[in-house]
């Protein structure tokens, strides 16, 4: 008598995307629970943390937002290595508005979000036709070019940057601003990508010629997706500027490009929740490992490799599957 494990998808209607899902409290809870987890953790537990861990949480949320922005682009097949472009542009727009015209963060952040998104979209518009690695190369190079441009021409404060900018009223305010942004981006993007519009976007990644032959202008859709992703990136830049009271060349640093990528790979791409989860694992992990001193990067790298080898699909995809399945042992002859 041998036994084997049987995996069965939960057959309850809660997995349907329709209104029929809302037939009982049990099924509503089943649907609501995973969605409530990030909201409760983010908004509820943050005041309980020590100021140091609140700071860590802020930087985690920044990277999570950049990872979500990266994930939006990958949905349309745009591989980006340049989240720092979005961060830097947003940072400098908010910084300049505050430094030269003394605008309050209440205005600089929204203007930098939309304006930064538009500017990045326009900058990348000529290369939007490129695919895969070619698009990635351009996104990698652009922030480096901006870096040297600022250094060479001494515009926007040159190497010194723009200092003495208006800070947030308090750390908790800053925390709630970034968390609100994170939750809006997470649930907003998930909603967009699951709509018919999102179907087109994913279709472009899957099979762009089929979308073209369906009478849709794929470059227009790619530009829209780029705008959405870049706006979120620019928002984090504008936020970071007011948090540090400084806008400068570090905004174009490679960290802002690589970290979101790692978070998305660890967490699982294409779901937005995955990259966010990835950021919430990697950034605190990097803080914990700080105690190890110079060996930190070694262990950090080791963790990354283990994650990627053990769960190549990403943690979120794994959790999602487990949540929607149940297992039992059955006897086989």
């Amino acid at each position: 008598m041998k036994r084997r494990k049987e995996r069965i998808d939960r057959g309850i209607k809660a997995r349907s995307e329709d209104i029929f899902a809302l037939t009982s409290y049990r099924e509503m809870l089943y649907l609501l629970f995973p969605r409530a987890v990030p909201v409760v953790i983010l908004l509820g537990l943050t005041p309980l943390l020590s100021p140091y861990w609140q700071e860590v949480l802020i930087s985690t949320a920044v990277y999570a937002l950049l990872a979500i922005s990266w994930d939006m682009l990958i949905c349309a097949g745009l591989v980006s290595l340049g989240q720092s472009l979005f961060y830097g542009i947003g940072s400098y727009i908010a910084g300049a508005l505050n430094y030269y015209w003394h605008w309050s963060p209440l205005f600089t952040i929204p203007v930098a979000t939309v304006g930064g998104g538009l500017l990045c979209t326009i900058l990348l518009l000529p290369v939007l036709r490129l695919r895969g690695i070619y698009f990635a190369m351009v996104t990698l190079v652009l922030p480096l070019m901006f870096l040297r441009l600022v250094e060479a021409t001494r515009i926007l404060g040159g190497t010194e940057g723009l200092t003495g900018l208006t800070p947030f009223p308090g750390q908790l305010t800053a925390l709630y601003v970034i968390q609100l942004g994170l939750l809006c981006a997470l649930f907003g993007f998930r909603r967009i990508i699951n709509s018919d519009y999102g179907l087109i976007v994913r279709g472009i990644n899957d099979n762009d010629r089929a979308v073209m032959s369906a009478g849709l202008n794929i470059h227009w859709y790619k530009a829209q997706v780029l705008f959405l992703g870049a706006s979120v990136g620019a928002f984090t830049g504008a936020f970071g500027t007011h948090l540090d009271m400084f806008a400068g060349m570090p905004g174009f640093a490679l960290d802002y490009s690589i970290m979101p990528l790692a978070a998305a790979v660890v967490g699982g791409t294409g779901t937005f929740a995955g990259p966010m989860l990835g950021a919430f694992i990697l950034v605190p992990l990097s803080e914990i490992l700080r105690a190890l001193g110079a060996l930190r990067i070694v262990f950090y790298g080791l963790f990354l490799v283990i994650f990627v080898v053990a769960l190549p699909e990403g943690i979120f995809h794994y959790l999602q599957r487990k949540y929607h399945q149940f297992e039992r042992w059955v006897e086989v002859e």
Partner: protein, 251 residues
């Protein structure tokens, strides 16, 4: 009776890839409601011709006019919006999506929105109806299966349904029958005949001559990118040039 209006006029169309003349100086007219078959040996430029008409490739020379409008060099999405839809020889479904969700993509296009006058309702329901029309058995829930799990016959029908969703004036079918069994072909032919009856103009690229000749009004033969014969199926079949192209010449 008036002769029907010309819907598509192709004049002296040329396209070379490197040194190979894939299509050279091909001209033809297509009248409204006609079913034109295009045949020719492998590599004779049939698919290139389709790609040229539908805007996937830009021609080196020559012109394409659709309903009197010069569409030469237009991008594919504008040509579709004007009313030319095509299938691909190699089926191009969205493999990860359920079959009916594949149709949501064309149903989302500006053309369908315009034809529906802004009211397009439930795209999923329209998609399911369309799939039933091309023979997806509703009782068997085939429409809900992921496209990657469907057999070739259904993928070809899905490809056809994706075009039908666009409600085109001119439908270009690139080897729709290739890779299908006789029974499967027999299942699709009535759908095409129904579309014709509804007034759709159809161009069929085909290797399956027997089935094509039964439904085509007119047949055009390509060889090495040139038009070597044109006429009713019977006259084309008897033409020496065609026999030579297909069977090879002794000399």
């Amino acid at each position: 009776m008036n002769s029907p209006a010309v819907i598509l006029r192709v004049t002296d169309l040329c396209k070379s890839f490197g040194g190979v003349r894939a299509v050279s100086s091909v001209s033809f007219d297509l009248s409204d409601g006609e079913l034109l078959g295009i045949i020719g040996p492998n590599g004779s430029g049939k698919t290139t011709l389709v790609n040229l008409i539908t805007g996937f490739i830009k021609p080196d020379a020559g012109g394409i006019r659709f309903r009197g409008k010069d569409i030469t060099g237009w991008p594919p999405y504008r040509i579709v919006t004007l009313g030319i839809a095509r299938t691909f020889q190699m089926v191009r479904p969205f493999y990860q999506l359920p079959a009916y969700k594949n149709l949501v993509v064309p149903l989302y296009s500006p053309r369908v929105r315009r034809l529906a006058g802004g009211k397009y309702g439930d795209r999923d329901a329209v998609a399911l109806d369309l799939l039933e029309e091309v023979g997806f058995e509703r009782d068997a829930y085939v429409s809900y299966k992921v496209a990657s799990a469907l057999p070739q016959g259904y993928l070809k029908r899905l490809e056809l349904a994706k075009c039908m969703a666009l409600r085109p004036d001119l439908l270009v079918l690139d080897e729709l029958f290739s890779g299908l069994s006789l029974a499967e072909v027999a299942g699709i032919v009535p759908i095409i005949e129904k579309l014709r009856f509804q007034g759709m103009t159809i161009v069929m690229i085909e290797h399956r001559l027997k089935e094509l000749f039964r439904i085509a009004d007119r047949v055009m033969v390509l060889n090495y990118g040139e038009k070597i014969a044109e006429g009713s199926p019977e006259t084309v079949m008897e033409s020496d040039a065609v026999k030579k192209a297909y069977l090879g010449s002794e000399t």
